[in-house]
Symmetry: C2
Subunit: 472 residues, 2 copies
């Protein structure tokens, strides 16, 4: 069996923790401090061999996804980076063609979002096996979550006649219902929440692309996902369409496999609150929290101290550069905040204070007049691009580890407590040759300190050279 | 006329903005971004000459008080630093004896807290003049605020027969009443809130110390406030007692001057909310706030973005290292948070991330394993003590300005973008000889990075030498 894990979402319903460049699946919301993405990978590892797992993500998030896989000690998981976000039909198609080429049309593939919570991993594994067994006769299987309440936030599936293996024929996919309709579905039975988890026979799936999305079928059949440039050109022309709308709602012979596996899509802070462990005052606290007479609150803090007095039924999420205080029943309206921030061009809508790169990460510690202080973390064995700046000089002090530094023609080793100056315009590069993480405190001085003041000359990660738009 | 401004309070009812080392009077809560202390000084400047103003503060806060005076361009205001906090009777006595020695027993002195808001400065000046005129016959005058509601948070004054100049004899000082009693006072009339503002004839006041606080009278008559060491020794033995309890409640012939001057003691975040300008949804926002459907909220942010959704009648105060979210009607319970933090030894109860010193300030930007990053701001013309550390090396990069640096026998000038290393154990000193503020980014490396790892050899500010307890 193969697994395709979709990790390209840019959802911001869990803002300010989730942002465009660091979305929900990358957050440590699963049990034991793992990210939702890591928990998803771990969940399939018992059923699917590591080298048969493909992750499809957006190119901006690929470095972080690879970093999280590396932290799990996984080296054979394939990561496909979409050059543009194009919804689920192109993403699943990209992986499906690759599986078809490698393993033929009878290969069975599970398609799994990476930003959901599943409490019952063992039950999920059992369902995966049952779906795999059923896929030879039913080529298109969707997992239907047995409703636990009249939810209006999900699409529903109406099931029809029973099939072998505990499956049912799908009669209809239904858009998110109003509250009354949802109540009726719950009372009637035979309705399931559309979870976005599928098991396909690859030949059957691609047959549907040909029948229902012929242009996309033609384009995808030409793409070699390993050829980044070709992929970029073709991908740009694909329609942005979901697999539900593009294929499943129109295809014949789709089956639903009922699932009771403690599923939550964590689609809002309210959903996170419901899925979280709560204390005897119905509070869920993460981080340093000091609360007086507080009930029904979800409080999460990255680092700072949060004090709450007389708080009732609220969400408080505190990150390095932004804070959310939200009445719990209004959690859906966090979207309005993100929309406003996006319209205003506020960086807090898009990125965190820490930005992950292929070689590590950088964090802005302080911005002043004509100076800026950053922490640069370089992973063992990694190096930044060879680069220069037009408007700023830099000064590096090594706070931990050992750096191999190039400045113009010179090369030197800088140890913990040592420092080196990079004059304006000098070509420079930092490399961590050591086994330990390298931490550098960078002080920038200059008239302009934007991330786009960078000219790249060489790069280990295939990023474009010359003047560019984002710090490497 | 003389003025004695009491600026030694360590109130934490406005935590997390107000802390023991950076109390309410130092906060920019007055109109135009000035601090309450600065607004208090400015208010008396029209009536009292600069060189007749004395500020009494705690030694830990004296540097910040001097800094705020310097920002106003005031150089002749006298600052008396109490070695220990001992409530208002010793603080007022310290200043009164000095005025007595300089100007004799007929000198009139206004005693003013520095952490109150007074909207009507002109009205206040008129009252000061009237009190001054009355002080030759009434030596002990207290300002009574005409109640605007049945407040239970203040002490009350019951007035008696009318005196000349619009004053009334005080019949009784009354402790904070319950709600029913406060209602009765309001209906009856003739009751005033005890504001803590006084006008005394110095001879009359000191006469009361002799009669009512004879031990304190004896001790204070011996103190020369200019002799720090002697002051420290004597002060230690003084009783910690308020001027209200120690003198005014027991003295004969106290008069009350009714005041309607837009007074607020800003004694809680609720009081700050009531005194603040509010928009048409009864919100008062300071800093970067993005609000959806929010009403009746006081939101203050130092630097970060605060997003509020569906927030009703709350206080949200966001500082660099701590956040408060509090139901507005529960503002008095902020004290419980501070008590808990103090009991737990949390630094957030006592100090801010930025700590002010006689020479400038330092701010912790980041603490890591075996390293710490600080911003050090050195005022023009100032220098830190000559010092060394036992457990840490330091590395300084100049982000702005120009530093004269001593490291052991060497001395060098480090300009913006330049850097210098201070090895473990080296004697070192930073001086800002230039006219601009000096900003240094310091990276510390070592096994122990506490503020108490410091040995002082020389100091411009008379602080104790040798190994010590707080960073200079």
């Amino acid at each position: 069996m193969y697994a395709v894990i979709l990790a390209g979402g840019s959802g911001t319903r869990l803002w300010p923790m989730s942002r465009a460049l660091f979305p929900k699946q990358c957050l440590p919301l699963a049990v034991g401090g793992r990210t939702l993405f890591q928990a998803t990978v771990e969940r399939v590892l018992g059923t699917v061999a590591e080298e048969r797992i493909t992750v499809v993500t957006h190119v901006d998030q690929a470095a972080e996804i690879r970093r999280q896989l590396a932290l799990m000690g996984l080296k054979s998981v394939r990561v496909l980076a979409e050059p543009q976000a194009r919804n689920t039909a192109p993403a699943i198609g990209l992986a499906a063609w690759q599986i078809l080429r490698e393993a033929g049309p009878d290969a069975v593939m599970a398609v799994l979002p990476s930003d959901h919570l599943i409490a019952d991993s063992a039950g999920f594994a059992v369902l995966l096996r049952r779906a795999e067994a059923a896929a030879s006769s039913c080529g298109l299987i969707t997992f239907g979550i047995r409703p636990t309440g009249p939810e209006t936030g999900y699409g529903y599936i109406r099931s029809g006649r029973a099939l072998a293996g505990g499956l049912f024929a799908v009669e209809q996919f239904i858009e998110k219902p109003d509250s009354e309709t949802a109540q009726r579905y719950l009372a009637a039975g035979g309705y399931f929440w559309n979870s976005g988890m599928f098991v396909f026979r690859s030949g059957a799936l691609i047959e549907q692309y040909r029948a229902l999305l012929p242009d996309m079928h033609a384009a995808l059949s030409r793409i070699d996902a390993a050829d980044a440039a070709a992929c970029r050109n073709t991908y740009h022309g694909l329609a942005s369409i979901s697999i539900d709308y593009g294929i499943l709602e129109k295809a014949c012979g789709v089956a639903v496999l009922p699932a009771e596996i403690g599923w939550s899509d964590l689609g809002s802070w309210q959903a996170c609150y419901q899925a979280a462990d709560q204390d005897d005052r119905a509070n869920s606290f993460t981080g340093r929290v000091c609360a007086v007479d507080t009930q029904g609150a979800l409080i999460r803090s990255d680092a700072r101290l949060v004090a709450a007095v007389g708080v009732r039924d609220m969400i408080i999420v505190d990150t390095a550069d932004a804070l959310l205080v939200c009445e719990r029943s209004r959690a859906q309206d966090v979207k309005k905040i993100v929309d406003r921030l996006t319209a205003a061009g506020a960086p807090e809508a898009r990125e965190h204070r820490t930005v992950y790169c292929p070689w590590g990460s950088y964090t802005c510690l302080e911005t002043g007049a004509r100076y800026q202080v950053k922490r640069i973390n370089v992973n063992p064995g990694a190096r930044l691009s060879l680069q220069s700046h037009r408007f700023r000089a830099e000064h590096w002090t090594v706070a931990a580890g050992e750096a191999l530094v190039i400045v113009d023609e010179g090369q030197l080793v800088v140890r913990t407590g040592g420092s080196v100056a990079v004059p304006l315009g000098a070509r420079h590069r930092i490399e961590n040759k050591g086994p330990q993480p390298l931490i550098i405190i960078e002080v920038q001085n200059g008239d302009y300190l934007g991330e786009d003041d960078i000219i790249r000359y060489e790069d280990d990660y295939g990023r474009s050279l010359g003047p560019l738009q984002a710090m490497d």
